[in-house]
Assembly symmetry: C2
C-alpha cells in the first residue's frame, strides 16, 4: 500500500525499507521525520546499487547521520556521498535529476539574451558567487548571468523553464541561511546590474527602484531628500533591495517602522515561466483584489524573481539618543519595555537586550571594549530614541529614566553624551556575534518567542546543558527576537544533540518562530514544521506548484523538498 | 472555433452572435469588455427561449444596457430580468446554476452542527442580513447560520462544499461595496457570535481575539491596558475585526500606523473545504515560509473565512491637537504636507484635504455647521497630531504653523482650543458624505492616486462635465486617497456616461487604484482591470481556484465571475 503524504513520519526500520524499495521512483523525495523533516533525494544510480540491508537505527541530527547495525554495501555509500550537496547544514540533498545540465547551445542562447558581458564563466568570479558570505555554503555553478533589464530576466527564465534548467536568484549574497547561493549547478541569476532609481516622490516619500540597488546607496539617495529607508542592516553596504524584499529582512528599524510587508507598496516580479507580473503600485492604499506582492516578500526567490521595488520611506529625523541600562532580573527588563512604550511613545526606535554572559563575551574578545557601567549586573538594555526635536526627545528620555529608576526597573545606567559614545554602546551590542566566533565553537539560533518567554528558553537551555557550554543571549527585546547562542571550546556532536531538537521543540511549544528574520534558505527547510502547521505548509506547497510547476526557482530551499518539486509517496 | 480566454474583448456584434450561439454551455460566463469586464451568466432556460436577433449595438455602462435595432423576443427579456440579481451596481449576473438549492435535509444537518439557536430562518432577521447598510444591495438568502466556534465554521463549510451550497461570510455588514450580503440565495455565515478576546500581552501589545469582536469593543478593551487599535473607522461601533481584516479596512489611523498588512500578525482561517489553517502567530518577526495570511487580508471572504485574528496594538498616546488650515492652491497643500512631515515628524496622525465645494456642501446641508475661518479660500487641510507629551506636541505644531505661514503654504488657519472644537472640525470633514446625499444624487469614487495627481483628476472631471454637475473632492491627502464625488439634482444616465469610464481610465492612466480602501465586493469586479494587470488578475484567479475550487465562498464578488468559478470559452 502506498499513500500520498507530505510529512511522513517514518521509524528507522520503515525508512530503511523504503530506501531500498523497488517502488521508489528515482525522482521521489522522502521526508524523514524524527522531529526533523529532512529532504533526501535518491538518484537512480544510487538506488540501483543499493542492496537491502537490515537496519536497526537511524539518527538524524542536523544533517544525515545514520547508525546501522551491519555496514551497508560500500558502493551505496560511495554514491550517497558523491550525490550529496557539499553544503553543510541541516539538509543534505541529491541533485534533482529532472533538472537539465547546461549545454553549449544554452550558453549561446544566453549570450543572445544578455550579450557577452552578461554571461560570466570566469572561475574566480564564479567562486565568489558560489560561496555565501559566511563561507559556509559552496555551490558548483558554472554560469552566472547578469541581466540589465526585466525583459532579459524574463527571457532567461522563459528559456530556463522550457529547458528545465534550475536557477538561483542572487542579490548582494549577504544572507545567513544559504538562500542565495547554488546548492549544485544552478545558474546564478545576479541582479546586480539592475541598479537604477526609477522615481522618488518627495511629497509621499515613495521610492521606486530596480532590485539590484544597494540598500546603503538608496538610504544615501533618499537622505538627500530628507527621508530614510525603513530598514537598516549590518550588511547595508552590500545587500540589495531585491534581496531584502525576498528575504523580508528585519533589522534595526523594525521596532519603529514595521516590516516590509507594511512598507513595500509594489513589486515587479518575473515568474518561473518568464511572465512579468507588474504589481509596481506606488499607492499607500489599494484594495483592488488580492495583495499578491506579499507572497514574494519573504518568498526567498522560490516563487518569482523580484526585479523592481516600490517602497515607502519615512521622513529622516534629526535627533538620536542612546541609553545603556542595567537590570537585576528579566521581569524588570519587561517592565522597562512597558515603561519605555509609555514614556517614550512615538520616539522609541530600539530596545535591545544583552545578558551578562553576552556582555562578558564582548568585553573579553573585542579589543578596546569596556563595560559602560562601573559594576556588574545580570541584564542590560540598549534603548534608542529617534525624533524630530532634540530638546523634546531628551526631556522624554529623562522622564523615562527617572520613572524607571524610581520604580526599580533598572538599577544603573548611562546616556551617551555624543554620537561617539552612542556608537560605542551599539558596538557592544553588534559585536557580540563576532566575539562569540572568537571565543570558539558557537551554535546560533535566531528565534522569535513571546516576550514573556524571551528569557525562559535561555534558562531552560542552561539547565539542559549544565556545565557543558556557555549559553549567551541578546537580541531585539522590543520585537521578541532573541539571538540564542551556545558557546563551547569546540564543535561536539553530543552537545549538539542536547541542543537540538530541544531548542526547536521549546520554540514550537510556545508558538515561536525558528527563524525570526533570517529566513529558511537551504539551512532550515527541515525545521519549517516547528513554526508552521501542516495545513499551512500544504498551502505553501500549493502556491509553489502554481507559480513554479517545474520547481526551477531556487530549488532545495525554503520548503521541504517534496513540496517544492515532486509528489511524495511513502509506504504505510 | 472556440478558444479559452479570460478577458475576451468582444465587439457588439460578436457579443450578440455569442449570446445566441448554440455552443454556449448553460454554465458559461462571458466577459463583455468595452472598457469594462462584465460577467454575465446565461442560465439554460434563458438561452433556450432566446431567438437569434440581429443586433447592431451594445452599450455597456456600469451595468448591462443594450440598444438593439430590432426589439428582441419579449420572452428573452422576461427571463433575462427574472434571472438577474436584484442588486444594483456595475455587475449584473445570473445565479450560477452549479450551486445547489437549500433542501430540508440540509437544514437538519446545520441544526446538528450549530443547534437551533445558530440556525436563523426568521424573515425579519434575514431581511436585515440580506441588505447592506447603504440599503443598496438586497440578497434573497433564506438561511443565516451563526456558529460559535471555529470547529462549527469548519463543519459548515465542509458540508456546503460537499453539497455545492454557496456561502457569504458576514461580519458587521458595514461594507460599502456589497461584499457582505448575498447576491442570490447564498447561505449567510454570520461570525457575530464568535466574540471572545483570547489573549492580550501587556508588554508587546499583541491582542488575539475571535473574528466577531466589534472594533470599538476591542479599542475599549485595549484602551484599559494603555493601548489603542491601529485602525479607526466611522463604523467602529458595528464593524467586526474579522470583516476589517477581510476588507483590509483603511480608515483614519493608516497614515500613522500603516495598513493591516503590517499590523495583523496572525490569522486563523477556514478554507472552503472546511480545513482550518492555523496561522495565528503572535510574533512581530517570523520568516518561516511564505506569509500566507496576507492573502486573506483584503481577500473579502472569497478565499477563506477569517475566524481568529492576532494584531499588534500601539501604545495609546495622551495628547491630540487639530488644526484647520486654508491654502490658495493645490501646490501649497502638497508643500504643507511636506512641511508637516518635516516639522511634525513622528506626531503627525492625520492630514486631511477638503476643497471649497466640499466645504460648501457641509456648510449648506449640515445643520449647525459653520466655517471655521472668517473668509473663503480654495482649499482646506485638517492636520492632526497625536503624541505622548502635550507641551512638546504644541510646540511642534506651533513651529509647523509658523513655518507654513511664513513660506506661504497656508494663508489662514486655526487650532482647536479644546476637544469640542477639534470634534467640530472633524465633523465637517466626516460630514461631507452625508451632506452630499442630502444635496441630491451623488456619484461616488474612492480613488488612490499619486499625490501630485490628487487634484488634477478633479479639475479634469470638472472640464469634462462642464456645468452639468458639481464636482466635489475631499479625502486622506496624506495617503493619496481622494474621495471624488459628483453631485447633481437627479441621477442621469447621460451624466454617468460622461463620468465613466472617464474616471476609471484617468485613474488607470496614472497607475492609481479604483478602490483605495473599500474593496471590490459585488460593486467593482468589472473595474479590477483598471488597477491590476492581466497577469496579476490571472494569478488571483489561480489562487482562488486553488483555495476554493468550487467557488462556493462569496461568489460573484472581487474577481470577474469567469475567474471565480468556471472556465470561459468565447468564439473567435
Amino acid at each position: 500500500m502506498w499513500r500520498r503524504s507530505k510529512h511522513a513520519c517514518l521509524r528507522a526500520t520503515q525508512f530503511a525499507k523504503l530506501l531500498f524499495s523497488p517502488h521508489l521512483a528515482d525522482s521521489s523525495y522522502l521526508h524523514i521525520s524524527t522531529g526533523l523533516h529532512l529532504p533526501v533525494l535518491l538518484s537512480a544510480d544510487v538506488q540501483s546499487t543499493c542492496n537491502a540491508g537490515e537496519s536497526t537505527g537511524i539518527r538524524i541530527v542536523c544533517g544525515v547521520y545514520m547508525n546501522w547495525k551491519r555496514p551497508l554495501n560500500q558502493q551505496f555509500w560511495k554514491h550517497w556521498q558523491r550525490g550529496l550537496a557539499t553544503s553543510p547544514g541541516a539538509t543534505k540533498v541529491f541533485r534533482d535529476p529532472r533538472f537539465a545540465k547546461l549545454e553549449e547551445s544554452d550558453m549561446q542562447h544566453f549570450q543572445e539574451i544578455v550579450g557577452d558581458k552578461g554571461v560570466i564563466v570566469d572561475s574566480s568570479e564564479l567562486e565568489v558567487a558560489n560561496t555565501d558570505w559566511m563561507n559556509k555554503y559552496h555551490g558548483q555553478s558554472q554560469l552566472l548571468l547578469r541581466p540589465q533589464t526585466t525583459q532579459q530576466v524574463a527571457e532567461i527564465l522563459k528559456f530556463c523553464n522550457s529547458r528545465c534548467l534550475a536557477v538561483v536568484p542572487q542579490g548582494g549574497n549577504t544572507g545567513l541561511v544559504g538562500g542565495s547561493v547554488p546548492v549544485f549547478d544552478e545558474i546564478i541569476l545576479n541582479l546586480g546590474a539592475m541598479k537604477s532609481i526609477l522615481s522618488f516622490d518627495e511629497v509621499s516619500g515613495i521610492l521606486v527602484c530596480e532590485a539590484g540597488c544597494i540598500l546603503e546607496n538608496l538610504d544615501t539617495f533618499v537622505g538627500t531628500k530628507g527621508f530614510t529607508m525603513p530598514l537598516d542592516l549590518g550588511a547595508k553596504g552590500s545587500c540589495q533591495i531585491g534581496g531584502n524584499v525576498s528575504t523580508n529582512a528585519g533589522g534595526l528599524r523594525l521596532l519603529r517602522y514595521g516590516s516590509l510587508h507594511g512598507n513595500v507598496l509594489g513589486l515587479e516580479v518575473v515568474l518561473a515561466n518568464g511572465t512579468v507580473v507588474d504589481m509596481l503600485g506606488t499607492l499607500r492604499k489599494d484594495n483592488t483584489g488580492y495583495d499578491l506582492k506579499q507572497l514574494f516578500i519573504g518568498g526567498e526567490g522560490t516563487l518569482g524573481v523580484v526585479t523592481k521595488v516600490s517602497i515607502l520611506t519615512p521622513p529622516k529625523l534629526a535627533s538620536t539618543n542612546v541609553a545603556f541600562l542595567a537590570c537585576e532580573d528579566y521581569e524588570s527588563c519587561q517592565n522597562a519595555l512597558k515603561e519605555a512604550k509609555k514614556q517614550l511613545g512615538e520616539i522609541l526606535s530600539a530596545f535591545e537586550f544583552i545578558d551578562r554572559p553576552a556582555l562578558d563575551m564582548a568585553l573579553c574578545h573585542l579589543e578596546g571594549t569596556r563595560d559602560p557601567l562601573p559594576s556588574k549586573h545580570n541584564f542590560y538594555l540598549l534603548v534608542e530614541t529617534t525624533g524630530s526635536n532634540e530638546a523634546h526627545d531628551k526631556e522624554k528620555l529623562d522622564a523615562f529614566l527617572e520613572a524607571g529608576m524610581e520604580l526599580g526597573y533598572f538599577v544603573d545606567g548611562t546616556v551617551a553624551q555624543d554620537s561617539t559614545q552612542a556608537g560605542s554602546f551599539w558596538e557592544i551590542r553588534e559585536g557580540i556575534s563576532e566575539a562569540l566566533v572568537k571565543a570558539g565553537a558557537v551554535y546560533k539560533y535566531d528565534l522569535s518567542v513571546p516576550i514573556k518567554s524571551f528569557y525562559r528558553i535561555v534558562e531552560d537551555l542552561r539547565a539542559q546543558l549544565g556545565n557543558a557550554a556557555v549559553v549567551v543571549a541578546y537580541g531585539h527585546l522590543g520585537d521578541g527576537n532573541v539571538h540564542l547562542n551556545v558557546s563551547a571550546p569546540k564543535y561536539d556532536e553530543q552537545l549538539l544533540a542536547k541542543i537540538e531538537p530541544f531548542v526547536y521543540e521549546w520554540t514550537a511549544a510556545c508558538k515561536g518562530s525558528v527563524s525570526a528574520e533570517h529566513g529558511l534558505g537551504f539551512m532550515k527547510p527541515h525545521a519549517l514544521h516547528y513554526s508552521k502547521s501542516e495545513e499551512a505548509i500544504h498551502l505553501m506547497e500549493g502556491f509553489k506548484k502554481l507559480l513554479d510547476p517545474k520547481g526551477i526557482l531556487n530549488p532545495y530551499k525554503v520548503l521541504p523538498a517534496c513540496a517544492a518539486t515532486s509528489t511524495c509517496f511513502v509506504s504505510v
